[in-house]
């Protein structure tokens, strides 16, 4: 096609949400009075006008095929009011303006295999990255890890049996697109990249790769007479930051790319300031198709939290109260030298007091 015939894009940016919003939400925009939680998976919001909107939340497989998307739409038309939204954790929410519609809607969703829940102090749907299905640098398949794990955590999604909400995330590399969570299951590489020196000069912008390394372990070098890059393996922290800009520096390893578990990430300002997640377990095998070792550890941590935390305590607040020694005791996880931070600012993580629980 000649360039002149090409269609110019309309740079409309982010669309206006009001055109798709439920009318009761438009009418009461900014005028809501309170909400309550009639049952797991359902929220009821009441406006100053007296109007009410019920929200039914359902978990899905996140990667939706067109058939599943249409089924969700069919349910929305037959049992709800034709307006939906998606949460930040990829749950679908149906809004209805009549409480009588709630039970039939839940029945229809469950009959179609969707899972109603994910509200209040439940284990929310695991927010995750793409993995082997689509990413160019993945160490694992987050979608598969999540499916296998949600099969085991489904009752905690459908019920509200936790002290407070539990947000779980997974990431397929150490960039950690999955984000911060009460529990995070992330790839942790344990060996330096394997370099294909025949390809580096042609594929990689070498100075950019050198600059990308967080610990300055990469330098330009001639290898077998070809310009390439070499890694000081004593300095290398095996983070994989060099791999995206330089694919011949393969960081993923079928055996040595492991899973690690981090806990206590909390984005909310409620009760305490937002917090980042902390390492608790590593060396977990990256074991498709169902990653049973990772799931078992997550369940063990959840069990300790559920039985020992007080109402409203998030994972980080529970551990702040009981202390890290007790956390390792309750979960039976080993405490190792790798738990002690040595990254910049790490002294702030050391105990400079006599606050010790005996």
């Amino acid at each position: 096609m000649a360039l002149a015939d090409m269609r110019r894009p309309i740079e409309s940016g982010c669309p206006d949400g009001f055109q798709y919003m439920h009318p009761v939400m438009i009418r009461n925009f900014g005028q809501w009075k309170f909400h309550d939680h009639p049952r797991p998976g359902v929220l009821r919001h009441v406006a100053n006008s007296g109007e009410t909107v019920w929200t039914v939340k359902a978990g899905t497989q996140r990667i939706l095929d067109a058939f599943t998307l249409r089924k969700l739409c069919d349910i929305g038309d037959e049992y709800a009011d034709g307006h939906v939204r998606f949460t930040i954790r990829s749950n679908i929410e149906y809004m209805v303006d009549d409480g009588a519609k709630v039970d039939p809607l839940i029945e229809a969703l469950e009959a179609a295999g969707f899972v109603v829940g994910g509200t209040a102090n439940s284990v929310a749907f695991i927010s995750h990255t793409q993995g082997w299905l689509h990413c160019d640098i993945p160490g694992t398949d987050a979608s598969g890890v999540v499916k296998a794990m949600m099969d085991e955590l489904i009752d905690d999604f459908k019920n509200c049996n936790m002290p407070n909400r539990v947000h779980i995330t997974t990431s397929c590399c150490q960039i950690n697109c999955g984000g911060q969570g009460d529990i995070a299951i992330n790839i942790q590489h344990t060996k330096p990249p394997k370099i294909n020196h025949d390809l580096v000069a042609n594929v990689c912008e070498r100075p950019a790769v050198v600059a990308r390394c967080p610990v300055a372990a990469i330098r330009p070098a001639q290898v077998n007479g070809k310009p390439s890059l070499e890694v000081d393996e004593k300095k290398c922290i095996c983070c994989g930051a060099c791999y995206p800009p330089c694919p011949p520096m393969q960081i993923n390893d079928p055996e040595h790319s492991k899973l690690a578990i981090w806990v206590g990430g909390n984005h909310s300002n409620a009760r305490s300031k937002p917090s980042f997640q902390k390492l608790v377990a590593a060396g977990i095998p990256n074991n498709p198709p169902r990653w049973p070792e990772a799931t078992a550890l997550v369940k063990r941590i959840l069990k300790a939290y559920q039985s020992d935390a007080k109402d409203w305590e998030r994972m980080n607040e529970w551990i702040d109260r009981i202390g890290w020694p007790r956390f390792f005791e309750l979960t039976g996880l080993p405490f190792t030298k790798y738990h002690i931070d040595n990254w910049r600012g790490s002294r702030k993580s050391l105990n400079a007091s006599t606050y010790i629980r005996f």
Partner: protein, 425 residues
């Protein structure tokens, strides 16, 4: 389907169990879809994914794909094992900006599904971690056709690469009583001011806007956004005293003390002998906890606005950073207020674009040059709300002290004057 189906013994294991299975979904596209093109893509995609499961490695590599007139918005994916799995060998993702607040009608979702089946794989995610609708799996050529079609009915690409990225906002004022802002308006005012910087990646690295209507920060903006806008208020929490009393009656005194009073981070709440609630609002830090627990009795005050925190980001390269308070409070009532916010974002991006190293996020730049230099660059005065505590090290040259102290007193006087004028007016 005429072609041989790939065996997928490992993926089949992910069809077991009660949670909905994405593998079953891809198989439906392979086995039940009316278009052979879609069947073929799904079959080879499953084949490649099974290969990944067997070898524990990924087989996609990037490249350069965009639509006419733009430089980004597509995640190009070419298969490294395309000879074995030819029908999914080009499997690009289009990042499409969702409507603010992620609202959809079933009609528009169907329309998107129809377009996507025509030009793509039929696989879609609402939404990716940045907040885009992810249309997963299209050829280079069809990427353009699909974009042309959905762009005609109001959808536009999001960001990919070193550019302003798709923004996210919570449900907010549309459904939540704790919302202190018009999240959708802020969302669109900010990101749609930068469409050029969304579509044509030319910044040092990514730049993300996220908007939460209250400090519960459901969008995780402090931890994930370069520019976080969070609704808040500065007058008193509104107490419905009858509801508060009935809460104590229903839940009990002990519950009230253990779960509300003592959970306040600044101990600014008192439960009095007659079971009435008193709040020392001067010391309330708007953490939201008591409002979350007592949704009927407590609500945000009426003098609402936003706080702006700048510089949040994930691990690469210097470690995780949270955003830092740059604007403790600003009103967002008038057009002028909104212009002020947009101007702040423009100044931030402009200063960062000029001063950041390649692949350096805004927060990393601030870490490198110090908050004061950044504030200087964007024309914002220092404020004690920006810090947890003042400096602990004496290793700093302070011969400008008198001038700086003078500036502080002058600013305080100016604030006092304008408050008095406002009260008089």
């Amino acid at each position: 389907m005429s072609k041989q189906k790939h065996d997928t013994p490992m993926l089949d294991e992910l069809e077991n169990g009660p949670w909905p299975s994405f593998i079953s979904g891809i198989k439906r596209l392979r086995d039940e879809h009316g278009d052979e093109r879609v069947n073929g893509i799904a079959n080879d995609l499953l084949g490649q994914l099974e290969h990944s499961y067997e070898t524990r490695k990924g087989y996609w590599k990037g490249g350069t794909v965009s639509v006419y007139g733009y430089g980004g918005g597509i995640i190009p994916r070419f298969s490294e094992v395309g000879k074995q799995f030819p029908e999914s060998k080009e499997f690009h993702t289009l990042r499409v900006q969702p409507p603010a607040g992620n609202h959809y009608s079933t009609d528009i979702l169907r329309q998107l599904a129809n377009s996507w089946e025509k030009w793509g794989s039929g696989l879609v995610t609402f939404h990716g971690q940045t907040g885009n609708i992810m249309f997963i799996g299209s050829t280079t050529e069809n990427t353009q056709h699909f974009f042309d079609e959905i762009n005609d009915y109001g959808f536009d690409l999001g960001g990919a690469g070193p550019c302003v990225r798709t923004a996210q906002s919570c449900v907010g004022a549309a459904r939540c009583e704790q919302s202190c802002a018009n999240e959708q308006k802020i969302h669109r005012a900010l990101v749609n001011n930068f469409t050029d910087d969304v579509h044509r990646p030319a910044l040092p690295y990514k730049f993300k806007f996220k908007i939460s209507g209250c400090p519960n920060d459901c969008m995780n903006s402090i931890e994930r956004a370069d520019f976080a806008v969070i609704g808040t208020w500065r007058d008193e929490i509104k107490i419905d005293h009858d509801e508060a009393k009935s809460f104590v009656e229903t839940k009990g005194r002990q519950y009230m003390i253990d779960n509300v009073i003592t959970r306040c981070p600044t101990q600014c709440m008192t439960l009095k002998d007659d079971d009435s609630l008193e709040i020392d609002d001067r010391n309330c830090v708007k953490c939201m906890h008591c409002l979350n627990v007592m949704t009927k009795a407590l609500s945000p005050g009426d003098d609402r606005g936003v706080s702006v925190l700048i510089g949040g980001k994930r691990t690469l390269k210097i470690g995780d950073l949270m955003g830092t308070v740059v604007v403790p409070f600003m009103k967002l009532d008038t057009d002028e207020d909104f212009e002020h916010l947009v101007e702040l974002s423009e100044n931030t991006i402009e200063f960062w674009a000029e001063n950041a190293l390649e692949h350096e996020r805004c927060g990393e730049m601030i870490e490198r040059i110090g908050l004061v230099n950044f504030l200087d660059g964007i024309g914002v005065d220092v404020d004690p709300n920006m810090i947890s505590h003042p400096r602990e090290s004496s290793y700093v040259r302070m011969d400008g002290w008198d001038d700086e102290a003078q500036k502080w007193f002058e600013r305080k006087q100016e604030e006092k004057r304008s408050t008095l004028t406002a009260q008089a007016g």
